[in-house]
């Protein structure tokens, strides 16, 4: 086999041209694309990390807000319960007071009515007794009057001797 120098040189030049051509036409654009992709991936990763951080902050904020809301709701419920208990107590006391007042009022009305009836009965009894006595005494004769006066004198003697 003959090795021709001219051919070797030609091949070397040919290879060089191809290598230069490939470098400018393929390697650099591909390299540029890869760099851009890497840059984009890096940006996406950074954005993701930032988003995750924001998400974490948001979650924490949300958890805190929930915690505060729960705390506030417990407080509101406790206050509402306390107010309700106070109102219940007050209502109970008012009701008791009212019932007692009504009972006393009814008792007073009953006593007044009782006293009024008793007074009326006593008055009527007294009037009846007087009417009967007047009727009986009006029919007394002189002797009976004298007998009554004699008795009165005896009573007077007894009263005076005490």
């Amino acid at each position: 086999m003959d090795i021709k120098l001219a051919q070797i040189i030609f091949q070397i030049i040919n290879f060089g041209v191809v290598a230069v051509g490939l470098t400018y036409l393929l390697y650099k654009p591909v390299s540029k694309i890869l760099d851009e992709r890497a840059k984009k991936a890096e940006e996406a990763e950074r954005a993701y990390a930032e988003a995750a951080k924001k998400q974490a902050e948001l979650d924490e904020l949300k958890a805190n807000a929930k915690k505060d809301a729960e705390k506030e709701s417990f407080k509101i419920v406790a206050e509402a319960k306390k107010d309700a208990d106070a109102v219940k107590k007050q209502l109970l006391e008012d009701a008791k007071k009212e019932a007692l007042s009504e009972k006393e009022k009814q008792m007073k009305a009953f006593k007044d009515e009782q006293n009024s009836m008793l007074t009326q009965m006593q008055k009527e009894f007294g009037q009846s007794v007087f009417a009967v006595a007047e009727n009986v005494v009006g029919k007394l004769d002189k002797k009976q009057h004298e007998a009554l006066i004699d008795q009165a004198i005896k009573d007077l003697k007894v009263a005076v001797s005490k």
Binding site: Q122, F125, G126, V129, F130, A133, E134, V137, L140, K142, H145, E146, L148, I149, D150, Q151, A152, I153, D155, L156, K157, A159, V160
Partner: protein, 73 residues
């Protein structure tokens, strides 16, 4: 010492014997007293003795009825 004033009221006129009996009782209690007798039919029966306008012995039927009425109350 002043004489005490006594008013004796009765539902019917007192007999002399009754007046004497009343005066005897009063003399025993008060000694010498100025006694007057009057008729008071409202007493219904018996008599009532008032000494110096305040002290009173009520032995009348009216007095007994009033006492009964008071006791009933």
């Amino acid at each position: 010492m002043n004489k005490r004033t006594v008013v004796v009221e009765s539902a019917a006129a007192l007999t002399e014997a009754q007046k004497t009996a009343v005066l005897a009782v009063l003399h025993e209690k008060l000694g010498d007293a100025d006694v007057s007798f009057s008729l008071e039919t409202d007493l219904l029966g018996g008599l009532r003795v008032t000494i110096d306008g305040s002290e009173q012995y009520d032995a009348s039927v009216l007095g007994k009825l009033r006492s009964l009425q008071t006791n009933v109350r």
